[in-house]
Amino acid sequence: VQPLAIFPPAAQKSSKVTKIFDGQEASKYFKEFYAPPPPPPSIDRHNKATNKDLIEPHDYMLSIYKTFSTAEKLGLNASFFRSSKAANTIASFVDSGQDDLPLSPLRRQQYLFDVSTLSEKAEVLGAELRIYTKVSGNFRISETDPVDIQLLSCHDQQLLDSRTLDLQDSHRPKWEVLDVWEIFKERQHLSPGKPFCLELRAMLDNPERELDLHLLGLHRHSRPQQKKAILVVFTRSKKRQTLFSERREGRALLGLERKAKERGSGIKASRRRRT
């Protein structure tokens, strides 16, 4: 788990986590906070295989939930934390892009995100791409040669953000975070309803060349769900939304249809009960 630190606006930052709690209460909450994430739900729990059982939330989303729900229990307003960007909704979208053949060199990757469920009315306060890197053991490079991972717009190849990889500690897996707020806002405005697309490349200086992304562990083949890249979008909706609106948006119907297949004619009773 990549821990998510709590940073109240005026508080000073310590090495890892800002000290906002005191004494025993702090140790209790941090124990809970840093506890390993709960095991993924089993596929056949009570013979009820649902979509939820097939979707494994990224550790980052679990971390967000744990942090903010812990803050709530302490009476702190989660929206004040820097990491939340004052958002009251944080949505994650898993990359649906595909690589070419596994053995061919991978110079560039296109990341695709279906963001159609995002409300157009919500105010976007931030967007970031989180990608999982693990430098290959075969990759040897002198310490003086930095490797830049660069993010480009699929639309016009404009450079959006770049990050120099920390090669001192490069063989440990790491999540790199790239800011895509500006391009996301622009794309949402210009091409609503279309998948959001970003292109990634890794550059090596002297001589300047594009690296094979396999060397940075960025290939997608046999990558588990939880290690897939995610686009995290921070929004704030002024409209007070009820729980039932989420319930209405398709999931209930999907669930009913699935259960109907499982149980045959049981759907009518189920629908009556829900109504």
Partner: protein, 120 residues
Amino acid sequence: AASKTRHGKRHGKKSKSRCSKKPLHVNFRDLGWDDWIIAPLDYEAYHCEGVCDFPLRSHLEPTNHAIIQTLMNSMNPSNMPPSCCAPSKLSPISILYIDSGNNVVYKQYEDMVVESCGCR
């Protein structure tokens, strides 16, 4: 008037308690919502229960309407019901769920936990 014990409580017919918050355990599994809510699967909350009878206590922060309705009820109960005991302050909780596009979403939902009850 009903006879009272030495602690001032009424004998016989059980009287309804004044409007206050009572513990409420919410279980999303029981509601059948665990197919889209990841966490929390349950949480501790409250519900409001009890009567708003005359005279209304100030901690119930009655609305002006509730004061009038309660007064009218006290004068003629058959013509006017007492005012309603309802949540007067609520707080949010965080929910992690799966949306219709199978994306994992964190949202802070307003008005999920009753903090106090009042006469409305």
